[in-house]
């Protein structure tokens, strides 16, 4: 058996740690089910800085040190890998997750300490890698879904690992290996709704993978059939992202059993569905999936007390049911399912409305319209569920009128929002479309851009054709204030003699604007 140390990197340092890393928790469970010895150091939960890492790395003689996360964890991961190789050079350093999958060749070049990267979904690749390491075999040249190094240290990207077809074969994540009582339960509450503000013991779950939509800013970590691996013009394998989609979701019984176990083992009072978009799964299932989840939630006794007929909110710590939240979509939700979701305990739903401008929404690939966005807020509110609309500014085609359309809708709907900035995360269509413009804005240093990426609340590289970063910062404040007078004034005096566009689109090898499905296990 291999002795494995997982390190969960720090993310969103400006906020308290709120989310158990679902991927690491799952991979830890898979490793243990395969007979391996596992320890987890949750750097994001503890926030002890880099000073503690040498002690962590020296706590045992690790066969494998595993690290991974979203692109926004890049800076932490880079330093954590450097320390790992310095302190524990004999441990095999394995990286994975979104930060690596989106740009495997770049990451292996920027972090030379990484011995092996797992690209895309790791559920099959990870135990295969562990078995080889356990057998002292570090030749990964024939292993699907990895990027390894040749004798000279040059990265070699192997072919795509097919994603699994049946998600119900996955074990429950190893929740108990994370500091639930010490850290996560203390940060359970959120300001998204009154019920969510009162809760004390939240755990997140993931009921589905992927989304059927093709939003230009989004990407799916190579886990939704959206990723191919092909030879580039230099003859080297590289990732190619597409509009291909293999929609997968756990069965309602699997989800209900998981929540019942969480209630029994940890007395949770809230579950947050991490799913990209619950409503696309519901649409894919021909409107049976969410209905069945809600009905079984109630039948299993998980309905919160305040949602039961004639019921009222339970005293703190005495809630017999489980509240929950998730993600929705303005065109795909339906009044009847929203009503049932509320009855089952749903408190709030995040809607990526993004904009209320018809032109922007048409180009975004979101599958919604300005009117549907407007209607969705009232429809959700009418069900009793609190809508949480996300707004973005700085779209490629953003102009004063599109900002005005968004502000007018915010005023009409009573929404207060400080918008995110349109951000081209690696792996997204935007990233490949504007990669050259991004490099130009970071003096050709793409790694500095990746290290700069956060949760899109601060400005990084601009992809707007019309506005500079300076102007977008002003527009963000104008939207936050819903200040049409200042917007009108800004438009009146706005002018940029002699200045060309900040960002310009281009074609890229790494993105195919076609529906080409990636491989899935069992396909011919």
């Amino acid at each position: 058996m291999a002795k494995i140390l997982f390190v969960n990197p720090v993310v969103r340092e400006e906020d308290v740690p709120r989310h158990i890393p679902y991927g690491i928790a799952l991979l830890a469970a898979i490793a243990m089910n395969n007979g391996h010895l596992v320890q987890i150091y949750d750097a994001n939960a503890w926030r002890k800085g880099f000073g503690v890492l040498p002690d962590v790395y020296l706590a045992d003689d690790w066969d494998v040190i595993a690290i991974g996360g979203l692109t926004t964890t890049y800076s932490f991961i880079k330093e954590a890998c450097r320390i790992a190789k310095e302190v524990a050079p004999d441990a095999f350093l394995v990286a994975g997750g979104g930060f690596l999958t989106s740009m495997p060749q770049d990451i292996m070049e920027w972090i030379p300490q990484i011995d092996l990267g797992i690209v895309g979904e790791a559920f099959v690749t990870w135990p295969e890698v562990l078995e080889k390491i356990d057998n002292k075999d570090t030749d990964f040249s024939a292993t699907l879904g990895v990027i390894c190094r040749d004798g000279d240290g040059k990265p070699i990207l192997n072919n795509t690992r097919p994603i699994i077809r049946d998600l119900n074969t996955l074990p429950a994540p190893a929740w108990d290996l994370f500091p639930l009582e010490e850290v996560y339960f203390k940060n359970s509450a959120s300001l998204f709704s009154e019920d969510a503000y009162r809760i004390k013991r939240r755990i997140d779950i993931n009921a589905s993978y992927g989304c059927s939509l093709i939003c230009r800013y989004c990407w799916h970590l190579g886990t939704t059939g959206d990723m191919l691996i092909e030879k580039d013009s230099n003859g080297n394998n590289d990732v190619v992202f597409t509009y291909g989609r293999n929609i997968r979701y756990h069965s309602p019984d699997y989800i209900i059993d998981m929540v019942k176990e969480l209630k029994k083992n940890f007395n949770i009072d809230f579950v947050n569905f991490l799913d990209e978009n619950l409503m696309t799964m519901d649409a894919s299932s021909k409107r049976t999936w969410l209905k069945e989840i809600c009905e079984k939630w109630i039948a299993a006794g998980l309905q919160p007390s305040s949602r039961r007929p004639g019921g009222k909110a339970a005293a703190p710590g005495e809630e017999p049911g489980v509240y929950w939240s998730g993600t929705s979509h303005a065109s795909l939700h339906r009044p009847e399912i929203l009503k049932l979701m509320y009855e089952a305990g749903c408190t709030h739903l995040v809607y990526g409305l993004e904009s209320f401008d018809p032109g922007i929404l048409k180009n975004l690939g979101k599958g919604t319209t300005a009117q549907k966005n407007i209607d969705s807020v009232g429809e959700c509110m009418r069900s009793g569920i609190m809508p949480i609309p996300n707004i973005i500014i700085g779209f490629p085609e953003e102009d004063f009128q599109s900002v005005r359309n968004t502000i007018n809708a915010l005023i009409k709907l009573g929404i207060h929002a400080r918008p995110h900035f349109a951000t081209a995360y690696p792996g997204s269509e935007w990233y490949y479309t504007y990669k050259e413009s991004i490099k130009e804005q970071y003096d050709g240093d793409l790694e500095r851009y990746v290290a700069d990426l956060g949760d899109a609340t601060k400005i990084t590289a601009v992809i707007s054709h019309n506005f500079t970063g300076l102007e977008l910062l002003g527009l963000q404040e104008i939207v936050a204030q819903r200040n049409l007078r200042v917007l009108d004034q800004a438009e009146k005096y706005w002018g940029r003699p002699g200045v060309t566009n900040v960002a310009a689109p281009q074609e890229s090898f790494n993105f195919r604007r076609k529906k080409i499905d990636g491989p899935i296990d069992g396909s011919k």
Binding site: M32, V38, Q39, I40, Y41, D55, V56, A59, L177, P179
Partner: protein, 62 residues
Amino acid sequence: MSELMKGNFEVKRKLDVPDVSDDSADFKNEFKKKALESIGGSMVFVEREMLFWESTESADGE
């Protein structure tokens, strides 16, 4: 001392990271966070650790 690592076996060398040093760090971080959230108008915040300044005055005050 909190259990900083969790797993399905006992590690050879237990981590010895005392909790006591964290209280002041937590307070400092909380104060900084709240101060930064309040910035606007006459409310400003200066980071102690980020002051890169050397006095141009000589030792005798000239």
